[in-house]
Symmetry: C2
Subunit: 331 residues, 2 copies
């Protein structure tokens, strides 16, 4: 993997020292733990947020492996008792070793299996490297750019989640540390076949990634008939946010605009959705993958097999419960 | 609705007094609350169980509306801050007003929309009445038996969940208070078009409902080409239990044996599965519903519209992640 120096303006000033990145293995004492550890069941991590008021998912903590504060967010890694290692950003679960396959495989293969021969792919966010790992399964891909704002997420993932960060080992990957919004503005028109936005929730560093100017930049950076897949929250919790995203996308993406979803047990409400959009050009029928990866996979024994994704679950992901279909189709 | 007296032997002796059934609105003091309240965040209910070790889902409690101990289990109802009223049995969430639609609609319409003209339906468990409400949408149905072991569940549901227990108001319904296993043994062969088993987890009163003799009784009670739908746990948490259920069902149901699943945010891991089986006879292709309810629904304005189920999500429910498909297909 080629690692470029910061080549786009950063959204916020960053301090240069990397002190916070050293691993610290602390005990299970409640004192000294961050707020989101101490306020809950002793010895458990609880995910409490205004994004999902009145509920919390908790995981039993065996050992805290890392705690740091980057220029953008609080970063924590712990060993859980039944979900493997867990990555937390600003108190919110980003991935667990047990269920990360569902999210990473779906956010990647839903877009890439929907177009023939993807060659250039951009990942915004996704600093853990899991999306890179999945993109790298596609042999047609020649170049993968990733723009992650927070270097601490990259470093921590490489240290504690080698089976996820393995994505960085692919020689087609170029890492850009910087702001995805600014990066996209500097991209020549029509550069990418696919853009995948693997962001955290729209409160915090990722907020701009849910706004209209950002979607406009994505559309410009894509070739005609190119595709966007972006994390798009939960139909059970955030229909109002989803409504806005869908309305924005319909204005900007003149190919097609679709909502898909999947199960991820450690995400709030147990599901997460994706917006799948294409620009004007060769039509993209997201519901019927033209570039199946299942077959190719079965022929290459070298890589870890897909755990979650298959062509059937690809199509099924676009079937929505009536309450969600009604809102999304009305936009 | 006709309510019959107990007409089958009960599994365990029941005391006659109904003292526990009176509603008690208690405050939020931790003392005096059952164990599963006192061990967690004050003012929150946390669902902790050996069935899903190392994790817990918590809901903020506004007010406890009912606590009682039946002959079979602890029964609790509370007003949550964001999920409406919640029914708890033995410390496990059975339903919340906010997401019960997903479970009740899927467990009912997956089987009933898969066969033409269902006329006689048996519900085992399902004391809250939600499955009855959904069965009653099918105009072809002439008779609905329900066998619930715990009268307290029925009484509490009628008192606190009128929009769920409304199912009991249908004149086609006959309630049998008693043990489902014994009830089924007394049923003449070939009686039902469909049997729906809406049980709690296989620890506690529902254990026998996951065992082979029970499935044999179900198969006998069904007409040729009749269908069973039974609650079948989570692919994320209980693949070992699911493996056993699938293996049992393949031995007993000589029509077809299928696994489907859906999202229910307040169930552990956010999903719940169903076994869908048919007896030898006219073939049943569960994946392609022959008796769509969407159309009929749109013509009758009298009932609350379906919130979750539609024909697309019916078929999608049978598409499994690769890790689950591999195990289930190997049985």
């Amino acid at each position: 993997m080629a690692e470029e120096s910061v080549d786009v303006p950063l959204k916020r000033p960053r301090e240069e020292e990397e002190n916070g990145v050293s691993a610290s293995a602390v005990g299970m004492e409640t004192e000294g733990n961050p707020d989101y550890i101490s306020s809950v069941i002793p010895g458990w991590f609880s995910e409490i947020s205004p994004m999902w008021p009145g509920e919390a998912h908790s995981l039993k903590v065996e050992k805290i492996l890392f705690q740091g504060k980057s220029d953008y967010q609080n970063v924590m890694v712990f060993q859980s008792s039944t979900y493997g290692k867990v990555l937390i950003l600003d108190g919110v679960i980003q991935l667990t070793e047990r269920d990360e396959c569902a999210y990473q495989e779906m956010i990647t293969h839903l877009p890439l299996c929907s177009i023939p021969n993807p060659k250039k792919v951009l990942v915004i966010g996704g600093g853990d490297g899991g999306v890179l790992r999945e993109v790298a399964r596609h042999s047609s891909v020649e170049h993968i750019d990733i723009c992650e704002i927070d270097k601490m997420v990259v470093d921590v993932s490489k240290q504690f989640f080698p089976d996820v960060a393995v994505g960085y080992d692919d020689p087609r990957v170029t890492l850009h540390i910087g702001d995805g919004v600014a990066f996209l503005k500097a991209v020549p028109e029509g550069t990418y076949d696919a853009v995948i936005v693997d962001s955290s929730d729209p409160i915090g560093p990722a907020q701009e990634l849910f706004e209209k100017p950002f979607f406009e930049s994505v559309a410009k950076a894509l070739r005609p008939g190119g595709v966007l897949c972006t994390q798009a929250e939960s139909i059970w919790l955030h229909m109002h946010i989803i409504e806005d995203i869908v309305a924005n996308c319909r204005q900007i993406f003149k190919g097609s605009v679709n909502y898909a979803w999947t199960t991820v047990p450690t995400y709030p409400s147990g599901v997460i959705g994706f917006m799948l959009c294409s620009t004007e050009g060769p039509p993209v029928d997201f519901k019927h993958p033209v570039n199946p990866i299942d077959v190719e996979e079965s022929q290459t024994k070298s890589k870890r097999p897909l755990k979650f994704y298959n062509s059937e679950i690809h199509s099924a992901a676009f079937c929505l419960p009536s309450f969600a279909r009604k809102v999304i189709e009305s936009k």
